[in-house]
């Protein structure tokens, strides 16, 4: 029996609206030790402006959101939609 057959026969109906590939990814992650999940999950790439200061503090979260919108390149995705 293939893994796809197995997945289709054991997928609870409560997950009917969830894409099969996502369910398979969730199940695969659940089988991995936390340490391994960490190694796959955390990445590091340079983010312009955001990574250019060693410390920033904002009085309010709204101030931080505003700063992100005004100061960061839009392609980083920190702006509101």
């Amino acid at each position: 029996m293939s893994s796809n057959q197995l997945a289709s026969e054991t997928t609870p109906t409560v997950f009917a609206d969830i894409p099969r590939e996502w369910l398979e990814e969730f199940a695969a992650a659940a089988r991995r030790p936390l340490k391994t999940r960490f190694r796959y999950a955390f990445i590091k790439t340079y983010k312009p402006v955001l990574d250019d200061a060693r410390f920033r503090a904002f009085d309010t979260t709204a101030d931080y959101r505003r700063w992100c919108e005004e100061s960061l390149p839009s392609w980083l995705g920190y702006g509101r939609v």
């Binding site: 609870p12 409560v14 997950f15 609206d17 969830i18 894409p19 996502w22 369910l23 990814e25 969730f26 695969a28 992650a29 659940a30 936390l34 340490k35 999940r37 960490f38 190694r39 796959y40 999950a41 955390f42 990445i43 590091k44 790439t45 983010k47 955001l50 990574d51 200061a53 060693r54 410390f55 920033r56 503090a57 904002f58 009085d59 309010t60 979260t61 101030d63 931080y64 959101r65 992100c68 980083l76 995705g77 920190y78 702006g79 509101r80 939609v81």
Partner: protein
């Protein structure tokens, strides 16, 4: 500086525990701790906003090797709502007032323990992401909400 490592998360967990810091992993880093398979660059910590917790957090961060000036320590102790640290062994965002979560105590009651890590409940993580309204969060929300269903069913 490289990517955030499991060993460093353990160091946070242990230093914060020994200094009595009340905190929760939040954001995608919290979701990853719960089992969400995705990638992120940041570790986000939601801290209780009290003077004593701020002082405890500063003591823990100094013990972890963060290079904090007196003024920066004061800002953390005061609990400024959002603080970005890139002056230590790893990057860290300290959030004292996250969008979408009313109060720390409520989130603390709902917290999930993952191998000793205090993590926000998936519903709080999603509420926070919804409230930010950011493009990058909107894109990841459908998959995160699907993970919520999976996680609730299998926990």
């Amino acid at each position: 500086m490289g990517a955030f490592e499991y060993r460093q998360a353990e160091e946070i967990r242990d230093a914060f525990a020994s200094h009595g810091v009340r905190y929760l992993f939040l954001g995608k880093s919290g979701a990853i701790l719960l089992g969400f398979p995705d990638t992120t660059q940041d570790a986000d910590l939601f801290l209780e906003k009290t003077p004593s917790n701020g002082r405890a957090a500063v003591a823990a961060l100094l013990a972890l090797g963060f290079d904090l000036s007196a003024d920066q320590q004061t800002q953390i102790e005061r609990g400024k709502d959002f603080i970005q640290l890139k002056n230590g062994p790893f990057d860290l965002d300290l959030i004292f007032a996250p969008d979408g979560i009313e109060c720390f105590d409520d989130a603390w009651q709902r917290r999930v323990d993952v191998e000793g890590f205090a993590v926000c409940h998936i519903d709080d993580i999603i509420a926070s992401k919804v409230a930010t309204g950011r493009a990058k969060d909107r894109e990841s929300l459908p998959r995160l909400q699907a993970f919520r269903e999976y996680w609730l069913h299998n926990r």
